[in-house]
């Protein structure tokens, strides 16, 4: 094959950039903007992904408000509240980790990352306990589902319709299950971020993966901020 001209353009300022600059970006600033913009677009798809579920929830809640109230009352709200607090703390530690990277404070960065993952695991633990309770109370939709003689809040003499309560639990398990799956994926991302941070790849000039991972984590937190009131506190007042 003929020795063709140098294929790779030898633009002058190629070599002074950090090795992490990908070949097709002109400057680092362009690369960071592209990554965060790309993550925001991905979060847009996630909003529409959960949006389909929230739309179904909205419609069935308006149709079967009483049965949804009865079913929601059977879930432990304090567990839900503690889970919300856990996720909010994890969002704080994510932001502190990014701040650690910006001021090159390795201990703060790595400490915060580890704290974030611990909070994530705590969240999944509490979620697991909740699912176990539901399993024992036979509130898991399917053959073993039973929701007999449960009064509708506010109408003590009227019983909730088990078929409609089963729809609530179907939506409950799918929405919280999908959220928990996103939490597991988040933990996977943060394990990878932790290893890169441990190897010292992040500097005040280059810590884009941390920011992008942080955006994803905050999004998962926002989804939970909406899930908590909508699923746990439908009709709690006496």
């Amino acid at each position: 094959m003929l020795d063709s001209q140098a294929a790779v353009p030898t633009s002058s300022h190629e070599d002074i950039h950090s090795p992490a600059l990908l070949h097709h970006f002109a400057t680092e600033e362009q690369q960071r903007n592209a990554s965060s913009f790309g993550m925001w677009i991905f979060l847009a798809t996630e909003v529409m992904f959960f949006g389909g579920l929230f739309c179904s929830y909205l419609i069935y809640r308006l149709w079967y408000f009483g049965d949804f109230g009865a079913a929601s009352k059977s879930i432990d709200a304090t567990l839900g509240a503690t889970n919300t607090a856990v996720l909010i703390c994890s969002s704080l530690t994510v932001v502190l980790a990014i701040w650690g990277a910006q001021i090159a404070n390795r201990k703060l960065m790595i400490g915060s990352l580890i704290l974030t993952m611990l909070f994530g695991l705590a969240f999944l633990g509490i979620k697991g306990k909740e699912y176990k309770d539901k399993f024992e109370e036979h509130h898991v939709p399917g053959a073993s589902f039973s929701f007999e003689k449960v009064p509708i809040p506010g109408h003590p003499d009227q019983y909730a319709n088990p078929r409609h309560a089963q729809i609530f639990f179907a939506l409950y398990f799918i929405m919280t299950g999908l959220h928990a799956l996103h939490m597991v994926v988040g933990l996977g991302i943060f394990t990878w971020l932790l290893t890169m941070a441990w190897k010292g790849r992040f500097t005040p000039e280059y810590h884009t993966p941390l920011e992008v991972g942080g955006l994803y984590w905050h999004f998962v937190d926002i989804v939970w901020i909406y899930l908590f009131p909508l699923l746990y506190l439908i009709d709690r007042h006496p």
Partner: protein, 547 residues
């Protein structure tokens, strides 16, 4: 034009830069990924086409005597699923869009090359899952998966087909994401928004739909699979669910999906017509903004698929009104293309013939859409062959004509070879004739009241069905021709000069086929889009690019 008859020295380009399977399967070059998509999409196009021929053969006779009822139901289901999710939605964006958008805006590659390769692999995984589903039993729910049939009454592989389409949805999302970030972040200096080629504008609008629409069908398919596997009650009326909720969530994506299929080929037509009329596009800003208007209004109209499904009369009124608002931007585009030819200097090369075909058939397809949006008529013609004819006029008459026109227009740039012009014009004519013979009788069948998805029908519909089947065979031949002479041209075609059509656009100012990084130096754009007057009168500034 191609003055240098002596074989030019084999310049290095993205094809001959490296060889070997790994150089193809692990490439992050947007041009190679486009070719990978071209091969896999053509494969699925011929599978879907084969099913279509079987359906047309079955409908030759009123009694169902070629295949049994179940097989026929699987045939039209898989024809729909393969054609929609594995050919039409990826075709132009993944092949021509992937190849051309970075070059057209003067970038070295898409914003996320590795995600681009991931989206091809997701497409291949989805394709394998769909093939496995087809070979081990297939699915008979129709491409629309209506519940409660799909969740409770069908005993075919609905879960597997649903998961295959779920995975192919993410391939489409990632392509859309890549395009939006590339257009925003990677434009060459001087490539302002009003100098962007309309091909890029239409792909930008398509990407918005891919990003905001596809996730909704992804979650809907998850719900269908969950309901079928775990017997939940979300869409099953026996357990308190509402089958219409499935239809709302399904059509929220599936109507904008038809704009994912047509907008890219509108982009191709907006490139071909100015080039072969040697004229600037008429009303550039209006054509560009009408692409965005179609993308946004496309999300407001979905329930015109459900006028008789049981939604409330008042909701039907609202959706019918909104459906007419989405027809205006399409009409504006057709008028602008026709006005572009006024006082032009028109050449009748194959791409232009495909553009004529597109204009004719898309106009008829769009106008029959007005019939379907009118509430009174829709009650009679929905779920009949009138609807089948309408969406085939848009998808096959519009999207596939645009796809073939684009392939012919950019073939010299993609392969570095010229396709045989005579055969190409003949193929365009055969496709046009075959298409009309196949689908025009179906309008008449539709108003007569022949329902869709029928494998046996009353005798009085037979004559029109025989005509339609005859047309289908002609159309089949018409589609085989390009495949043959494109492959032939790869081997025996004359080497193509860098700008065989003397077209405007950055992609015509680099080598054909381009080098791996598209340009020697980063181009600087100093001219307006479609400056054919400058090209024809000779005093056109070169974008400091060699060759």
């Amino acid at each position: 034009m191609a003055t240098a008859l002596a074989a030019p020295v084999e310049r290095e380009n993205y094809l001959n830069k490296e060889y070997g399977v790994a150089s193809w399967l692990l490439t992050t070059d947007h041009k190679r990924i486009a070719l990978l998509y071209l091969i896999s999409i053509t494969f699925f196009f011929f599978i879907g086409g084969f099913f279509a021929l079987l359906i047309r053969l079955e409908l030759l006779t009123p009694a169902g005597d070629l295949v049994q009822a179940d097989t026929y139901n699987k045939l039209f289901t898989m024809h729909g699923q393969v054609m929609v999710f594995f050919f039409l939605i990826p075709s132009i964006p993944a092949v021509l869009g992937n190849f051309l958008i970075p070059i057209m805006i003067g970038a070295k590659d898409l914003a996320f090359p590795r995600i681009n390769l991931l989206s091809w692999y997701l497409y291949i995984i989805a394709g394998i899952m769909m093939l496995h589903c087809m070979l081990t039993g297939g699915v008979d729910t129709g491409w629309t998966f209506y519940t409660p049939f799909s969740t409770a009454f069908s005993n075919t592989k609905v879960i597997e087909a649903g998961l295959a389409i779920f995975v192919s949805g993410f391939s489409s999302i990632l392509t859309g994401l890549n395009f939006v970030v590339t257009v925003h972040r990677m434009r060459a200096p001087g490539m302002t928004w009003s100098r962007l080629p309309l091909f890029v504008w239409s792909h930008y609008a398509t990407s918005i739909i891919q990003i905001l629409g596809t996730p909704v069908i992804a979650i809907t398919l998850v719900l269908v699979v969950a309901e079928r596997a775990l017997h939940l009650g979300i869409f099953d009326p026996k357990l308190g669910g509402d089958p219409l909720l499935f239809q709302h969530l399904f059509w929220f994506y599936s109507h904008p999906a038809v704009y994912i299929m047509i907008l890219p080929s509108m982009g191709v037509i907006s490139e071909i017509i100015p080039c072969f009329s040697r004229k600037r596009i008429f009303g550039y800003h209006f054509v560009a903004l009408s692409s965005l208007a179609i993308a946004v209004f496309g999300f407001l109209v979905w329930a015109h698929h459900m006028f008789v499904a049981g939604i409330s009369v008042y909701a039907a009124l609202i959706f019918s009104l909104l459906s007419y608002s989405v027809a205006v931007p399409s009409a504006v585009k057709v008028f602008n293309w026709t006005a572009t030819m006024y006082k032009g200097s028109i050449h009748y090369d194959a791409p232009m013939l495909y553009a004529y075909g597109f204009l004719g058939l898309f106009t008829m397809g769009g106008l029959t859409g007005l019939f379907l949006a009118a509430l009174g008529i829709d009650v009679h013609v929905t779920d009949t062959y009138f609807v089948i004819a309408h969406f085939h006029y848009i998808m096959v008459g519009g999207a596939v004509m645009g796809y073939l026109g684009g392939l012919h227009f950019w073939w010299p740039k993609i392969s570095g070879k010229l396709y045989p012009e005579g055969w190409a014009r003949l193929a365009a004519l055969i496709v046009f004739i075959g298409f009309n013979l196949t689908f025009f009788p179906q309008f008449i069948l539709g108003y007569l009241g022949m329902p869709r998805r029928y494998f046996q029908y009353p005798g009085e519909f037979q004559v029109l069905n025989v005509l339609s089947t005859a047309g289908a065979t002609v159309l089949g031949v018409g589609y085989l021709l390009p495949m043959i002479y494109f492959l032939w041209s790869m081997r025996y075609g004359k080497p193509a000069p860098d700008n065989p059509w003397k077209a405007a656009g950055l992609e015509w100012q680099t080598q054909s086929p381009p080098t791996t990084f598209n340009f020697e130096q980063e181009p600087v754009v100093t001219w307006e889009a479609y400056n054919y007057d400058e090209i024809d009168t000779g005093h056109k500034e070169e974008a400091h690019v060699v060759g």
